[in-house]
């Protein structure tokens, strides 16, 4: 029973697990610096930003949507929280305000998408621009620094290992529970699977859609706390490109579908790890950044191809059973 579960689990994810193991072995065998405690911790540390953003993104993707504005939200909530902190607000309250702002941006996204029946891609593209503009306007284009130590220690300190790793584990656990054990997770998947049937089953679609984007906004704001604590400054340009692209790429590599209906948290974790491992490995090798872009592009394509082959095969076997 137990082994059967492990077996199906492995069968479901063998493609990406093999990719991750293969990449790690390759780098590990070619560089003495790769399999060190410090470096492995680095990889985990680098995964945190992508992974928390991705936790919001998986629900958005599951509902058949996409959120391009998470990077800008990361930038703006960072700037806003920094300004609130600088005004002398206690850190806890400031963090709550930041989360509130992230939630608000998400709510605007969700409301426009749900109420006007607009494509999430274009709505969040517009928001990407607007929110980045707000970050620039509020920060006047300059980084804001000088936060209370307790804030930065909480979000990017060291207790054995970096505190943001603990935080990420907690958020991933939360995401996993929400995805698998709650009605919210089920509804998110059902909207992506078939909006019409979800509607017939009595799901309050607009509310769920709004909540999905609010959640994404909240996770983006938590990411911004880690980001600004890592840098000890709120950068108006934080999350400009790589961060949000990877937040979308990681779930897709992990087997979440862009057309919705699926959530795999485990896949998302592996997807984020693959991206961070490739980056770290290429850095350790000292591969030129030009080649890095090329490799990361290739890795994305190849892991998705592997996944689509796996899916096609499982579909084939299912069809065979039916006929």
């Amino acid at each position: 029973m137990k082994t059967g579960y492990v077996f199906t689990f492995l069968r479901k994810h063998w493609g990406i697990i093999a990719t991750l193991v293969g990449i790690s072995l390759f780098f590990g065998l070619s560089s003495q610096y790769f399999f060190t405690f410090y470096n492995l911790l680095n990889i985990l540390n680098h995964t945190t930003i992508t992974l928390i953003l991705a936790m919001g993104m998986v629900f958005v993707l599951a509902s058949g949507g996409i959120d391009l504005s998470v990077g800008s939200t990361l930038g703006f909530t960072g700037v806003a929280t920094a300004l609130i902190l600088k005004a002398g607000t206690p850190p806890l309250l400031a963090a709550l305000c930041g989360i509130g702002i992230g939630a608000l941006i998400g709510a605007v996204n969700g409301t426009i998408i749900a109420k006007f029946h607009l494509q999430p891609f274009i709505v969040t593209l517009g928001m990407l621009s607007i929110v980045r503009g707000l970050a620039l306007v509020f920060s006047n284009g300059k980084p804001i620094y000088g936060f209370p130590g307790i804030f930065t220690t909480f979000f990017a300190g060291h207790v054995g290992i970096p505190t943001n790793i603990y935080l990420t584990i907690a958020i991933v656990a939360f995401g996993s529970i929400v995805a698998n054990k709650t009605r919210f997770g089920l509804y998110a998947k059902s909207i992506g699977g078939s909006e019409a049937s979800a509607h017939i089953c009595g799901v309050n679609i607009p509310l769920i859609v709004i909540l999905i984007y609010v959640q994404s906004g909240i996770f983006a704001s938590i990411t911004s706390f880690i980001y600004m604590s890592m840098m000890d400054a709120a950068e108006p340009l934080a999350g400009l490109l790589t961060e949000w692209l990877e937040a979308i790429a990681a779930p897709i590599i992990g087997g979440n579908s862009l057309s919705g209906g699926i959530i795999t948290i485990f896949g998302t974790i592996i997807g984020a790890l693959i991206l961070a491992t490739v980056r770290s490995g290429l850095n350790i090798f000292g591969v030129q950044p030009f080649y890095q872009q090329l490799f990361i592009g290739l890795i994305i394509i190849i892991s998705v191809i592997a996944d689509s082959i796996r899916q096609r095969r499982s579909r084939l076997s299912r069809e065979r059973v039916v006929t």
């Binding site: 680095n42 930003i49 970050a135 990017a156 890592m230 770290s280 000292g286």
Partner: protein, 360 residues
């Protein structure tokens, strides 16, 4: 069939990885050269003698990006110093100037490789502070080469020790360019504008500051504003084209770098106003030098990136050999304006420092 396809794909990727690595490892290391206590090449009076390295020190250098001649010339500076003094240098860079987090992550990875010394060009004042702290904890000396400046206060607050700081002043770049244009326009003066880089970036904001400060010194100059060109040639051209329309009396455009300047010049040329509007650039990329020689851009201000990198490695050797004079903790590299009048001489003088000058 599919399995075969998958296997071949994976093989392809591994091959893709293997090729650059093969190249990297087949690169011949320069033979051990015995250098007997040379004087510093560019700052002999200030830095003094560079000792013979007692071993092949491993130095990791982190640049902002390797996109455009500017950063490539800096790389050349590092590499020429590597050959000259017989040390091992690895060069890293973020994919683009917007990748502030990625740059920190690269530095994290560099620290994993236990370099004897690390040279960094941070993208912002703060983006790599956390990683620098780790480096300090591991007793790796750090040299801050150009760009963002890790101030003594920031060092103290974050427990970072910066051994040396070698740079050129950004704000001074645009001050010099603006001053040159102001003098060229003379008493008559007129309307002047600035096309800045990507708002929010350090270089862009500092050059904007330098421009605004310098313009304020000339009552005959009227600043009509600052537009965001995002370091983009086409965008800068569009902006300049629009502003030339709305300000028919515009006399000068200061570009945040040569790319923005050249874009703006294209618009000036299209509008047939090359006699009326002066366009200045910064950085002295080859295209801009050609342009200055052809009487297009009125001037450009080279950033001494090659020299800075070279000097950084000289300082690095002094630090590693314990011969470093703390008085040289901050080195501001000299800057000047290159214009039609002096550019031929300058190109001849600096040929070895700017790879793009070889064709002139």
């Amino acid at each position: 069939m599919r399995k075969k396809l998958l296997c071949s794909l994976i093989a392809l990727v591994l091959l893709g990885f293997a090729v650059p690595i093969a190249f990297a490892s087949s690169e011949e290391k320069a033979p051990e050269k015995v250098v007997g206590g040379k004087m510093s090449k560019y700052l002999p009076d200030q830095i003094g003698e560079i000792p013979v390295p007692s071993k092949r020190w491993r130095i990791g250098c982190l640049e902002k990006t390797l996109i455009n001649d500017f950063w490539l010339d800096m790389k050349n500076g590092y590499e020429d110093a590597e050959k000259e003094y017989g040390v091992d240098i690895d060069i890293y860079a973020a994919p683009s100037e917007a990748d502030i987090l990625i740059q920190k992550q690269i530095l994290d990875d560099m620290i994993a490789k236990n370099y004897d010394l690390i040279c960094v060009s941070p993208i912002t004042d703060t983006n790599i502070l956390a990683a620098l702290k780790t480096a300090t904890q591991r007793n790796i000396p750090i040299i801050n080469v150009m760009d963002a400046y890790i101030s003594p206060e920031a060092q103290k607050k974050h427990g970072i020790k910066i051994a040396s700081f070698v740079t050129t002043d950004f704000a001074e770049n645009s001050r010099l360019a603006t001053r040159f244009v102001a003098e060229k326009l003379g008493k008559e003066g007129g309307e002047i504008m600035h096309i800045m880089g990507l708002p929010g970036g350090r270089a862009a904001e500092e050059r904007k500051r330098g421009y605004l400060e310098e313009v304020a010194k000339y009552p005959q100059l009227k600043n009509i504003g600052v537009w965001p060109g995002d370091w983009d040639r086409k965008k800068s051209m569009d902006i300049a084209a629009d502003v030339i329309q709305s300000h028919p009396n515009l006399r000068a455009i200061i570009g945040a770098n040569d790319t923005t300047g050249l874009g703006a010049y294209q618009a000036v040329k299209n509008a047939g106003k090359t006699n009326q509007i002066l366009v200045a650039g910064i950085d002295a990329i080859p295209d801009a030098i050609r342009s200055v020689m052809n009487d297009e851009l009125v001037c450009t201000v080279p950033f001494m990136q090659y020299q800075s990198a070279y000097i950084a490695i000289e300082s690095a050797i002094q630090i590693l050999e314990g011969k470093f004079d703390p008085a040289n903790r901050e080195i501001w590299v000299y800057q000047e304006v290159w214009h039609k009048g002096n550019i031929k001489d300058k190109v001849a003088e600096y040929k070895e420092q700017f790879s793009g000058l070889k064709d002139f």
